[in-house]
């Protein structure tokens, strides 16, 4: 019994239907939601693996939930600059994968790449014994595969870069670890997600060498009082000691394996 599929007297629904697509993160949350699953002083779990990129002299891959990045170290190789330099140069390049963010990133250099590279450079430059590499350049390339907040990328980038440098066998004063914090009112949360940083009053990123108890970088922006900033710095520094043991573990298991 062939039926006419189209009945003019009725309101016909469409023949096909699709679920509406809700893109997460498009509507910006404005509330400082309670954290699920971890305390405000907890950081996300870290997966760190040195030596994944076989082509490079040294490399590291780090993953903290939704922040994923890979870092490769080349060199020391001859500087291309035309001036004689007594100290080595540390060259850091950061690249976002086009699919690393909610909105597609145009695969060309933009300003954010450089600001990240500058921040990571500040974090690790003072840990490398550059005086041992005259006329040479050490290249560090960081690719961000997935991005969950710039602050997290700065912190994880510094950890990965330091691990990769150790893996490459480049002389350092100490391993650098880094941790970020977001502040809203008097509430401090360590290792914030992108959602948390977007709704916060300000953020603090601290990089330090726990072995020497010295601080290599502090990066604070936003509206925070000096007291709270200092408290953030202390909390981050404490947490950096835990991260240091993660690096130590990954490096020593790497050295025992072969």
């Amino acid at each position: 019994m062939a039926q006419n599929p189209f009945d003019r007297r009725r309101i016909n629904g469409p023949e096909e239907s699709f679920l509406p697509v809700f893109e997460p993160g498009q509507e910006r949350p404005t509330t400082w939601n309670a954290r699920c699953g971890r305390q405000s002083t907890d950081i996300r779990q870290i997966f760190l693996q040195p030596g994944l990129i076989s082509q490079a002299n040294g490399s590291a891959y780090i993953e903290t939930e939704k922040t994923k990045l890979a870092c490769a170290v080349y060199g020391p190789r001859q500087s291309k600059s035309t001036t004689y330099s007594e100290k080595g140069k540390l060259n850091i390049e950061v690249k976002f994968a086009p699919f690393s963010c909610t909105r597609r990133r145009y695969p060309l250099h933009d300003a954010e790449d450089r600001s990240l590279a500058v921040a990571i450079h500040q974090s690790i430059a003072s840990s490398v014994r550059l005086e041992l590499f005259p006329k040479s350049t050490i290249d560090v390339f960081i690719t961000i595969i997935e991005n969950d907040g710039i602050e997290g990328c700065v912190a994880s980038g510094a950890i990965a870069a330091s691990t990769a440098l150790a893996d490459a066998g480049i002389e350092m004063f100490g391993l650098v670890t880094s941790c970020s914090a977001a502040v809203r009112g008097d509430d401090i949360r360590l290792d914030p997600t992108e959602e948390e940083t977007n709704t916060s009053d300000g953020v603090v990123v601290v990089a330090c060498m726990p072995a020497l108890s010295s601080i290599t970088n502090v990066w604070q922006s936003g509206r925070i009082t000096a007291e709270v900033t200092l408290r953030c710095m202390e909390m981050c520094q404490d947490r950096c000691i835990d991260i240091h043991s993660v690096i130590a573990h990954s490096l020593s298991s790497m050295n025992k394996a072969p």
Partner: protein, 342 residues
């Protein structure tokens, strides 16, 4: 930036570390060079300021070593542009750009100059465009149009301490900015009587009063016009929360302010500390550590506290000067307006 020989470097360092400390131009460690500020220097901008730290140019009675005697000179201008508001944005943003004149850095290659510019731009952008500082009187038509604040700073000469100078100029330019007063304009479409009997569809016609533009409960205002008023407009709201910057130059256990280029090149660690004092309450707006030296938390704790008092001095001085400038220019503008009428 400036290349300094090892001998020169150690000469500067050892004289800074000697007791009492000596500086190239005889200042004490906590002294600034004289700062000159003028607002309203760019007639085409909505707000502008020029700041000089130290003597501009070389025309002084002391010619300094190396022929680089000049101070730092920065001009900042604010232009307001009408911009559309995207979905989910509050409307109104501040965008900063720093351009460095090649004349200020004759020894830098164009690549290095670009890097310097982008570094300064990123620093300023991260301070001034922070959501916590966004002025809330930039909206023209809610949900549709807003003023976009374009802040451009040009470094005409760099005699050291360029970040402090930039921040002073930008703060003064933003303080000086007047947002033109606007009125909404509404369109009201005539009541709709169409859509009856043209197709065989019998749909209820929307009988509500209201224009064809009214969908999704948005405001009816679609355009705006400028009101005629003797003054240029109202000031940016929240202008008392833009911070000032104090750069601390740290050399082992001493620190000093307002370094000249040679001094800048001979310290291993610098800190940019930006404080704002809205209603007298100190707020740390930005803190950055720059340089190949490490620090400790105790050192940072001490220096952040010290920086607060330095910043407060700068803040009070700037605030007083800006009020002076405002009064001076307000009188001038009124005279001009009434003079034209009379």
């Amino acid at each position: 930036m400036t290349s300094l020989s090892k001998a020169e470097k150690s000469y500067i360092q050892s004289s800074l570390l000697s007791d009492p400390p000596l500086r190239l131009d005889g200042r004490s460690l906590e002294d600034y060079r004289p700062i000159a500020l003028e607002t309203g220097v760019v007639p085409l901008a909505n707000g502008s300021a020029k700041v000089c730290i130290g003597r501009p140019g070389r025309g002084g009675y002391v010619q300094e070593a190396g022929g680089v005697g000049g101070g730092t000179e920065v001009v900042a201008g604010v232009k307001l542009e009408v911009a559309g508001v995207g979905d989910g944005e509050g409307g109104g943003k501040v965008a900063c750009t720093v351009s460095c004149s090649p004349a200020a850095y004759p020894s830098l290659s164009s690549n290095a100059l670009d890097d310097l510019q982008s570094d300064l731009t990123i620093l300023l952008e991260s301070v001034l465009s922070h959501p916590s500082l966004r002025p809330n009187n930039l909206v023209i038509v809610p949900g549709k149009k807003a003023w976009a604040v374009k802040l451009d700073a040009v470094v005409f000469a760099d005699g050291g301490n360029v970040v402090d100078c930039l921040m002073l100029a930008c703060r003064a330019a933003l303080w000086d900015t007047k947002v033109p007063l606007t009125k909404w304009v509404e369109y009201r479409a005539p009541r709709r009587h169409a859509a009856q009997g043209d197709v065989g569809m019998d749909v209820d016609v929307d009988e509500e009063a209201g224009g064809g533009f009214e969908t999704k409960g948005e405001s009816r205002a679609t355009d705006f016009e400028l009101t005629d008023y003797w003054d240029e407009g109202e000031v940016l709201s929240g202008r008392e929360s833009w911070p000032v910057c104090v750069t601390l130059n740290v050399l082992s256990n001493i620190h000093f302010l307002d370094a000249k280029l040679q001094e800048e090149a001979s310290v291993p660690l610098r800190m940019y500390v930006m404080y704002a004092f809205p209603r007298g309450k100190p707020i740390l707006q930005t803190f950055r550590l720059i340089g190949p030296e490490v620090s400790t938390i105790d050192q940072l704790r001490g220096l952040i506290k010290r920086a607060e008092s330095y910043a407060r001095n700068t803040w009070t001085g700037l605030e007083a000067k800006l009020k002076d400038e405002e009064a001076r220019r307000g009188v001038k503008a009124r005279e001009k307006f009434y003079g034209r009428l009379g």
